[in-house]
Amino acid sequence: MNLVQAINDALKLEMKRDPRVVVLGEDVGRVGGVFRVTQGLWDEFGDDRVVDTPLSEGGILGTAIGMALYGLVPVPEIQFADFIFPGYDQIVSELAKMRWRSGGEYSAKMVVRTPVGGGIRGGLYHSQSPESLFIHVAGLKVVCPANPYDAKGLLLASLRDPDPVLFFEPKRIYRASRGDVPEGDYTVELGKAKIVREAEAAPGKPAVTILAWGAMLYEAVAAAEKALELGVECEIVDLRTLWPVDVETIAASVEKTGRVIVVHEAPKTCGFGAELVALINERCFLSLEAPPVRVAGFDTPFPYTLEMDYLPLAHRILPAIVETARY
């Protein structure tokens, strides 16, 4: 299965299991979504549970909040994360604050699904990775799977979480990422990172921890392969859930290696890397052998051309690994 099929599988499974689940968004029904993630749902579950909406992100997200307060489990799709901003107010002002401001009496349990990231030459309005804009808002969980297995398990876990989850789908690997996905029900716990490649540092043999997620995970792996040829081992952590972040797993790895690189597509300044580096400084200061490094997007809008220079691909990660190892 690829990522698209795995997400589709999770949605189908949960819609069968839980009659409260309602999918809504632009062209999610008859068309099956621009990336075909919701394909077949409308045929199976009909108009009431798979709702084609007009072009109205504030409307989609706002009504989803009301539905959730009433006890439904809405799964709004925003066609591209870049289009979420007309509905950002609903997320920031209402969705994120609901449980806290109702003294715990209400929560707007829902999963907002949206594709993120570059790699399809979409330019400034179809490529952004706005995770830090949501992580910064207290009250939201943020998830980003990197493979079909995790996508299904994390989505099912998100759908059963009592609170709102932003589910970011890395569109660059929607179809490129393939893997075995178990039939039937299983979950991948939110808030748990995964070590996808292990490394040991030894005297005279430095190792580097790389923190990545989504599509850039594969770039980190590719860079690590190259680094190995140069004698540097890398331990790679796939964060999977960006918030709440698995600081224990991160700290354990950084304490072991003493060197860390964060990779993300979003612009560097105030990107999630900044928070990760701050957490690492707080937790692992005395274990650090080198300054933490961020390999990220540039502090500009996302360009149409030069996309492969803008993205923190393996060719930009590798020099950072070498430098960090040599520091």
Binding site: R30, P54, L55, I120, R121, G123, L124, Y125, T300, L306
Partner: protein, 341 residues
């Protein structure tokens, strides 16, 4: 679109007289429409060859809207439009070279290749941008009109958007402010009956977009595009109202796109028969027929068409041979280096 729908729309006669030398004028409008059509057909070919990437939303079928409406403007007037922006950009006078090079992501493009198809800009012709966030540009366009009123420079702003945009807040906020402040702007809703895969009937409770003007207390108009000269005349009335009385108008122009929403859309949500019916009413084709019927002369038309072919071939060649922007362009921040004020 059923027959009865067609009949509901009042076909007004305009008091404005058409420009003199009407046949030459029509030939010029035909030339502009053909340029847009041919540039886009070549862009589609380049897309298939992988020279253009990402998203390419073609305007094919709707050319008469941009060309007719901009014909009613003065050169110093402003236009603001959506991501389906090639037609408006060319009609406003941007060169086919700058447009094609932008599509190819080349340094010689109107935005140095950094914007691409959806984000054309041209300061020389007061083309204030194609915008990819649907509805986001509508309040912005009202602000442009505010500035011309503030400066009392008599300029008018045309703001284009699809019928999909009418469901989002930006439309209502922009029109509401323009109405309250009596701004010199014409809101042109290009209602092509589809918002991606969603037909009109499933995207709006009232299919007549122009009715939205009533709630804001501004003038409205609504018509089907058949003849580019009609577009010029009908939009011309709204432009005159904006220029002379500083009053906004909402105009719903019923049109149709012949291609999918973008290059990746096979448009399975509509029938081939519907498409063929609409192609028969192609305003570009009708303009040519009218020119022939009224005696413009086949040989003059041929010459005009050959000139367009040459212009388009030159634009493609220019885009092909232009350099890519240098990656160092990314190192400066948004306000530095080549982007500095």
């Amino acid at each position: 679109m059923s027959q009865s729908d067609t009949q509901q729309i009042p076909q007004q006669e305009s008091p404005l007289t058409r420009p003199s030398g009407q046949l030459d004028h029509l030939a010029d409008l035909y030339r502009q429409m053909l340029l847009i059509r041919r540039v886009e057909e070549e862009a589609a070919r380049a897309y298939a060859q992988g020279k253009i990437g990402g998203f390419l939303h073609l305007y094919i079928g709707q050319e008469a809207v941009a060309v007719g409406s901009i014909a009613a403007l003065k050169p110093e007037d402003y236009v603001v439009t959506t991501y389906r922006d090639h037609g408006v950009a060319l009609a406003k006078g941007m060169s086919a070279r700058a447009l094609m090079a932008e599509l190819f992501g080349k340094a010689t493009g109107c935005s140095k290749g950094l914007g691409g198809s959806m984000h054309m800009f041209d300061a020389q012709t007061n083309m204030l941008g194609g915008y990819g966030i649907v509805g986001g540009h509508i309040p912005l366009a009202a602000g442009v009109a505010f500035a011309s009123k503030y400066r009392a420079d008599g300029r008018v702003t045309l703001c284009y958007f699809g019928e999909g945009a009418v469901s989002i807040g930006g439309f209502h906020e922009g029109v509401s402010l323009a109405a309250l402040w009596k701004l010199p702007i014409v809101f042109i809703c290009e209602n092509n009956e589809y918002s991606m895969g969603t037909p009109l009937s499933r995207s709006m409770s009232v299919e007549d977009v122009s009715m939205k003007a009533l709630g804001y207390g501004i003038d409205r108009d609504r018509f089907f595009v058949e003849d580019v000269l009609d577009v010029e005349q009908r939009i011309g009335e709204a432009v005159q109202r904006a220029r002379e009385m500083s009053l906004p108008t909402l105009v719903e122009v019923r049109t149709y796109r012949f291609r999918g929403h973008s290059m990746s859309d096979p448009a399975k949500y509509r029938t081939q028969q519907e498409l063929e019916e609409r192609k028969k009413k192609d305003p570009l084709f009708r303009a040519r027929v009218k020119l022939v019927d009224e005696g413009y002369g086949e040989s003059r038309l041929k010459a005009l068409e050959e000139a367009i072919e040459a212009e388009v071939a030159d634009a493609v060649e220019f885009a092909n041979t232009s350099p890519e922007p240098d990656p160092s362009l990314l190192e400066s921040t948004t306000y530095d280096g080549p982007f500095a004020a």
